[in-house]
Subunit: 157 residues, 2 copies
């Protein structure tokens, strides 16, 4: 059981996610920014993720493509605003199936002895966009991704 | 008198700004993305703005420095997520005097006969950041900037 929390208060435009990983912060940060690692944990269990670009520096672009077992492809992309290894990363995020709807993610990693507290704050252009993301069932996909990230970083730690 | 409206509803994380410009959309868009033009309208009337970089393409960076008459300098920077000329621009925004507080701006330009309806939606990482921006007196600075932009685009139209 993870300690994953997903908070989306009514009327706000953000989703706040926290979770602890059983690995040091630099290992978690590396897994979040390294292309080969991202391909291993990002996305649903049943999909494959292809990392086209993950240029983790200010102004760098990222684009990941998820492929489902039936061959459908789903693209996601954005740009990195700021990278402060191993503690902080700010990026934009757009699902290409809903072009023009852009959100901004702030990831923060804090040391908790040998463990790492991960916090992400995602802000949306509107409450409707935020509520739509919640309604899409993002929470189960998120859980799968972060469980896969936990598996990866505990192997690497 | 401009028709500037600044809406910041209690408890939300955004500021929504609308205003009409008396110029065609492509002229307004060009003035918002061209470095020499930005230097002429961006910032307070009493300050000078130096555009260090305004690389208006996805992943491009921007950095502007405002200099006040007493010689103090204030830096601002971000990255462009998306540019769809002449209708839409999404960028991140950070005032270097408050590092780590990042917002995301979505600018939309719509044609209204020979005039242009400008809308900006800025979302902040928290309600507190949003309220802090309002409390800083951004509205009078915004008014000065957009009046200067109006002057520039009506000259160019």
């Amino acid at each position: 059981m993870s300690d994953l929390k997903v908070v989306a208060e009514p009327g706000r435009q953000d989703i706040v996610i926290t979770r602890t990983f059983d690995a040091p912060r630099d290992v978690v940060f590396a897994a979040m920014t390294d292309a080969d690692s991202i391909a291993r944990w990002w996305g649903l269990d049943e999909t494959d993720t292809r990392v086209e670009v993950a240029d983790a520096r200010p102004g760098g672009r990222w684009r990941y493509v998820e492929s489902s077992p039936d061959g459908a492809e789903y693209g996601f992309h954005g740009v990195f605003h700021d990278i402060v290894a191993p503690e902080r990363l700010v990026q934009t995020f757009e699902f290409e199936g809903m072009p023009g709807h852009v959100s901004m993610d702030t990831y923060t990693l804090e040391e908790r002895e040998d463990r790492t507290l991960y916090t992400s704050v995602t802000v949306f252009q509107s409450v409707e966009d935020r509520d739509g993301m919640i309604a899409s069932g993002m929470e189960s996909g998120l859980k799968q991704s972060l469980d896969a990230l936990e598996k990866l970083v505990t192997e690497q730690a």
